[in-house]
Symmetry: none
């Protein structure tokens, strides 16, 4: 009763949502949506169960917030790179993939894709959000990079979106493996993400470049 208001509480007030989202992200990626208990999210964020509900009215809303927080504008940075890049288009694509992997794929946020894929059918309004915020922009960004290569005469004239999807596929493949089997102690094929992505992008580049090297 007579205790002074704790400083810790005061100090953290503004960062609470971020801490909760980070804790939730880590747990959703590790255990999936259903197997993540809200109490554990709270504990990992250093708050009580009740506090979590002050910020997010339900576990479903928390999940959506995690998705939105981590994936909104995810692609904008990539689009910026495309728009300002000055080297060859092949180097641009290689750069995009590397940046994407380092800044997203290999981070906890990369694991969201796994959870979203697993849960979209249970969260209908998430499907449209994710399509609008992630899939379409990514498609657009990659397509514009490919278009750049075609316009500059570097790439053959191919259907933009099919090529964009061909570029997406290895990224999705890697990120899903990384956050599922890659996190399990199994004896399976070794995937060095960086090398693998490089190999795959090289193959695809050779497939789309006007002059096969």
């Amino acid at each position: 009763m007579l205790e002074p208001p704790t400083r810790t509480r005061q100090r953290r007030k503004e960062t609470r949502p971020q801490e909760l989202l980070d804790a939730a992200l880590a747990l959703f990626v590790e255990k999936g949506f259903a197997a993540t208990r809200s109490e554990e999210v709270a504990r990992r964020a250093g708050v009580s169960k009740g506090t979590l509900y002050l910020y997010y009215p339900s576990k479903e809303e928390l999940f959506k917030a995690v998705v939105r927080h981590n994936l909104s504008n995810l692609i904008a940075e990539g689009q910026g790179i495309v728009d300002s890049f000055e080297g060859t288009s092949a180097d641009l694509l290689r750069l995009l993939m590397r940046v994407w992997w380092q800044r997203f794929g290999a981070t906890p946020a990369g694991g969201i894709h796994k959870v979203v894929v697993a849960e979209v059918r249970n969260f209908p309004d998430l499907a449209q959000f994710y399509t609008d915020e992630v899939i379409l922009p990514a498609d657009q960004m990659l397509s514009s990079a490919v278009q750049r290569g075609i316009s500059r005469g570097e790439f053959r004239e191919l259907p933009l979106h099919d090529v964009a999807h061909a570029l997406m596929a290895p990224m999705i493949f890697m990120v899903l493996h990384h956050h599922s089997f890659g996190a399990c102690p199994v004896h399976g094929p070794e995937f060095d993400p960086q090398t693998m992505l490089d190999t795959q992008i090289d193959l695809i580049l050779r497939g789309i470049e006007r002059q096969a090297s």
Copy 2:
């Protein structure tokens, strides 16, 4: 329709496991493991809750049985195609992808991969089973097809497994999309799986073929 009208207490020990596995497969793919209630599996199979437990001792075992039933021997067929194929290696890879999509990717069984990727961290022994039974054989099968192309002088000499993974990536990409966003009523990019796979395989083939056409 032609079944005898008796609905109660049907005794069909022979066919029950298949019916239960089919019902479970459909629901696991639609809702995920955790969100699927065992009673609903039973109801969809036309039996009572208790009957399900007569055949599978727990929901977890049911899930494993679904995985095993649908995925074991899946790859063997592909390997058979590889071993007996007589055309060009490019045609072989195109055939493998088409067969795979028609016989697995586009069927309910294709949805298993999504569920396994989502849940494997919660089922440690499933990780090893799936790796041994699916991932490694698929890797091996595709590698052998690539090796065939190299041996026959059709393909460049590239690291087998990296190429195999490059071939896997579009398949995984497609199957996951098909059973997640592809099943949601969203307005997103159209993916015609068959066309897309063809485009992607062509790109990769051009990347690996000795003589770029």
Copy 3:
């Protein structure tokens, strides 16, 4: 269809109830009423679950049948010994205890008492049956043996029933221990039943005999 009627079934028809009661007795004593599954009773008796219900309409009735079958007339034999014994009353009591232990206490039937004590409050009509068939006759039998000792001047004049209960106590004590802790692999006090009963009867005899030896 064309099999001859199995001889086994025919032969066993009359002994079925006995086999079922024996199996049920063993399991009820080992696990208690609730933890005994009817299927296991059937299996141990070598029949199917359905057959059990041909003989006993419910697990409760089976339990009551086990109790009644094993305990009805249990005491009659003892009463016969009392009525025809010719030695000293002290020897009579010693004999009664020994016979009781060998013929009942140490046998599976002895375990029933444990189960009855545990379950009477859940089986109201069993209470009266057991009181009438077991408790009162045992009381009567022991009292008559004591009365014999008093009448013959061997024992002091004491309240019959109190002495009878004093004689019962060690028997109940032994039989309950034998079928509970005595069947567990614990490191506790050693109870050699025969010796212990002898010691206790000797103490009590010394307590009731006119001439303390």
Copy 4:
């Protein structure tokens, strides 16, 4: 009656365990372990089902807690009486029995012994706990009281533990009867516990005293 009228969401972390243990004790004694439903325990304690599991992680642990709470330290008090008693050893034994009956045998806690005897074969670790915590100390306590009588020349030199068991037998007999048949509305022999215990202890005392009175 004097409690504040608020009934919902009472927060009483301090007193809840005691209330739950009391409710569980009463029900376990009345119905046995298996036949007691956890929801009923909760209801009798005035809380919801979930609250019970906040304090005890399973029905089995609740049962063990009931045993420990009610029996631990039970014997210590008796040992204290033995160690500090100043009258004759016969009076000591009479006192021990009376105190034991009034403070334990006739209380709900006395019913625990019935439940333990009935269930111990299903709870292997309870067997050792109960042996260590109750049976051996009780044995020790009674033996020390007998030893006192022998050392003071009041009792004959008899095997300590056999005599201790002879003293235990009537107590066990009484307490089991009291909480089984004694709680049923049957017409059986009347057992006035106090009188009966007195009679039995007198008999045994006469059996062990050096000078038969």
